[in-house]
């Protein structure tokens, strides 16, 4: 049966027995809690690596690729974050599970292209980690459309969303966006820039909303404008969320998740009426 996690994410009850996830962690308490939770919630059998060496072996001595790594920043044999660097170098998506945290480490972590990071500082830590894992495993079910006339901005958003394992489509204009939406009814989220030459984000939202409600498609506006009334105007015409640039990665991911969670909750409720 479907259950809601603390952040509002829905566990569908589906299991992932064949997915290889490795956990780099030397604390017994955490390895036990994490393997138990992941087994319970999504049927995943994680492979525990207590040292950097274990981790390298798990990756190199098995032909089956590692889908996701969960790793502490430091492990025995890798006291300066080498384990994390190793994962990134091997192109393995990684969620960092750490006790220490300050701005400097955060900057370093984010620069490394990780999927997410979870702090061990509270009783919800393991649950939050489980949700993060589940999101990564199921995000590819969500199809996200990015609309921006700037190629750089498109590439930036797209690389972030792909890192989280979403399916991504790109449009360089409002007109193109409408065309893509018509042919891809499975798109559940549109992330649109405001300033665009043909149809601006405001007008695009209005047009989308005349055919599709927010119970079937979510829209997040982004803009580097400094007009603070823009957000209200955008939300009034039917946008679900709005972010001013430059925004921080974590907030962007949270807001994307938040909107998709709502969509999943509505779809689940709709399915129950059938």
């Amino acid at each position: 049966m479907a259950v809601l996690g603390i952040s509002g994410m829905q566990y569908s009850g589906e299991t992932f027995p064949d997915v290889r996830i490795i956990l780099g962690e030397d604390s017994n308490v955490f390895t036990q809690m994490i393997s138990q939770r992941l087994k319970e919630l999504m049927g995943v059998d994680i492979e525990i690596c207590r040292t950097f060496e274990d981790m390298q072996m798990a990756n190199e001595l098995n032909d089956e690729p590692v889908v996701l790594a969960i790793s502490n920043i430091n492990l025995p044999g890798a006291e300066n974050g080498e384990a994390l660097e190793y994962m990134i170098d091997c192109n393995i998506p990684t969620i960092v599970f750490t006790g220490t945290f300050h701005d400097e480490i955060r900057e370093k972590l984010l620069a490394k292209d990780i999927v997410d990071y979870i702090l061990k500082d509270n009783v919800f830590a393991v649950d939050m980690l489980a949700e993060s894992v589940y999101r990564f495993l199921t995000n590819h079910r969500h199809h996200v459309l990015i609309v921006d006339d700037s190629a750089t901005a498109r590439a930036l958003l797209s690389s972030r969303l792909k890192r989280y394992n979403f399916r991504v489509s790109l449009a360089d204009s409002g007109a193109k966006a409408i065309e893509i939406l018509k042919t891809n009814p499975d798109i559940g989220l549109v992330v649109t820039d405001y300033n665009m030459p043909d149809i601006d984000g405001f007008e695009l939202t209005r047009r989308i909303r005349s055919v599709r409600g927010s119970h079937e498609l979510r829209i997040i506006g982004v803009s580097s404008s400094n007009n603070r009334l823009l957000s209200a105007r955008f939300l009034k015409v039917g946008g679900n969320d709005f972010m001013l640039r430059p925004f921080i990665d974590e907030e962007f991911y949270c807001r994307v998740n938040q909107n998709l969670d709502t969509l999943v909750q509505i779809r689940a409720a709709q399915a129950r009426t059938k």
């Binding site: 809601l4 603390i6 952040s7 509002g8 955060r106 509270n122 919800f124 939050m128 209005r206 909303r209 005349s210 927010s214 119970h215 603070r228 009334l229 957000s231 209200a232 939300l235 009034k236 015409v237 679900n240 969320d241 709005f242 921080i248 974590e250 907030e251 991911y253 949270c254 807001r255 998740n257 938040q258 969670d261 709502t262 909750q265 509505i266 409720a269 709709q270 129950r272 009426t273």
Partner: protein, 441 residues
């Protein structure tokens, strides 16, 4: 500058004529716009509508009627510069301004006067948006919102902003107070919480709330004047649905609040659709089986007794064959109506399981207390008369009652009650049969 809302919009400002049939005042001099608006209010939303195109007719209208909400055009032939808006605001009637010209000065003035919403006549969806806005504000009257902030002035600003939107507003100074208010007021659907508070911060409060209330029933918006840009992400990660930095733009916060309330309302409608019985409006079998086991588990965990009753209308098939299905349906509705009146406020869980069969989960009652309660249901229904075209009809019911003592599957409990119902029928109907009678008899 928005602190002045409070004095303009006191709590008793809401004077709903009736929850179902709201009275809307449309102040608009354009004939085409007003006729579309009136038509949509009357036919789509079932509101009572009064239209006035001049200040003169407005004054006549307010002399004789009380309004729940008004759509206000700022310029009328005999009123310039929004005098009519001042009059509406002075009456404490929530105002939705619908205007062709709009600029920043006007925005400031509208916000200062405490209008509930404003919409600009600049696009083809404008009328839809007015209709949606009115509908939204009227339904806000049934929604509880809790504001948590330790700073009185900051709290007051938020409370004012919510009152203008006609919510039922609660406020708390501390996280602990907030948790108590939430426990006591289950109709609170949204919590807006500050970050910095002495006893527990908003982040901690969010996490505690989320242990008990999931985001499909309760939404949380974090708010803070902190300059820590990571705060928003941590709030969202902890289970908040949105986060806003101070100073906020009033309209933006209003929109974010409304979006969350609308999401909950959509989810609720879907839940009801899935869980109600189309004929009687009672909860259906699906709900009973979905919700029942958890209710039983939680009451058993507290060590309290619990019983289950199966209720069946006597000779229903004969009645259906003799009088026709339409009368049969009428009887079903009448019995359902009586049962829900009798059970209202008791906390027991009633559902129509199908056909002429109902079930009640009697929380906190052991077999003998449950049997006594069911006896009162039986008597009440036996005295009820169902009106036919030119006569009346009496109906009786038989009830089987079983106490839930052992840990078994939920359907086993129902089977036990069903067996006892069968015995009640065998003993001549119009009676309650419980397992206690089984032992002594």
């Amino acid at each position: 500058m928005f602190n002045s809302f409070g004095s303009r919009m006191p709590d008793h400002a809401v004077r709903p004529a009736s929850r179902n049939k709201a009275h809307v005042l449309v102040i608009e001099d354009s004939r085409s716009l007003s006729s579309i608006l009136c038509h949509r209010f009357e036919n789509e939303l079932g509101y009572q509508v009064t239209h006035c195109a001049t200040v003169k007719s407005f004054e006549a209208a307010i002399a004789s009627d009380v309004f729940d909400i008004a759509v206000v055009d700022l310029n009328l032939p005999d009123s310039y510069d929004g005098q009519v808006l001042d009059q509406v605001v002075a009456l404490n009637v929530p105002a939705v301004v619908f205007t062709a010209d709009f600029n920043r000065d006007m925005r400031e003035r509208l916000l200062e006067r405490g209008v509930a919403d404003y919409l600009i006549k600049d696009n083809e969806r404008a009328i839809d948006m007015v209709v949606e806005s009115i509908d939204r504000i009227l339904s806000n009257r049934n929604v509880g919102v809790l504001v948590v902030d330790d700073v009185a002035s900051a709290r007051a600003m938020l409370v004012d902003l919510l009152r203008v939107q006609k919510f039922q507003v609660y406020d708390a100074e501390t996280g602990a107070q907030a948790l108590t208010l939430l426990a006591d007021n289950p109709h609170i659907e949204l919590v807006i919480t500050d970050y910095h508070m002495p006893d527990m911060n908003g982040y901690e409060l969010t996490r505690r709330i989320r242990r008990q209330h999931h985001s499909d029933r309760l939404r949380i918006i974090g708010i803070s004047s902190s300059s820590d840009r990571l705060l928003s992400a941590s709030f969202l990660k902890a289970g908040a649905n949105d986060f806003v930095y101070r100073p906020y733009v009033v309209e933006e916060l209003q929109c974010r609040i409304q979006h969350n309330i609308e999401t909950l309302s959509q989810l609720r409608q879907l839940r009801y659709a899935a869980f109600s019985d189309y004929l009687t409006g009672l909860r259906n079998r699906r709900y009973f089986f979905d919700e029942g086991p958890a209710q039983v588990a939680s009451i058993r965990a507290r060590g309290e007794p619990c019983s289950i009753a199966m209720l069946d209308i006597d000779h229903f098939k004969k009645l259906n064959d003799g009088y026709g299905h339409e009368v049969g349906d009428r009887v079903l509705k009448a019995v359902a109506g009586r049962l829900s009146v009798m059970l209202d406020g008791t906390g027991h869980m009633l559902a129509r399981l199908g056909g002429e069969e109902f079930s009640v989960l009697l929380l906190g009652l052991d077999a003998s207390a449950a049997a006594a309660f069911c006896e009162s249901l039986r008597e009440d229904i036996a005295q009820m008369r169902v009106a036919l075209d030119d006569s009346e009809l009496g109906v009786t019911v038989s009830i089987g009652v079983a106490e839930i003592a052992e840990h078994e599957s939920f359907s086993n409990y129902l089977n036990a009650a069903d067996q006892l119902l069968y015995m009640a029928k065998g003993l001549g109907r119009n009676r309650v049969y419980s397992e206690n009678m089984l032992v002594s008899g």
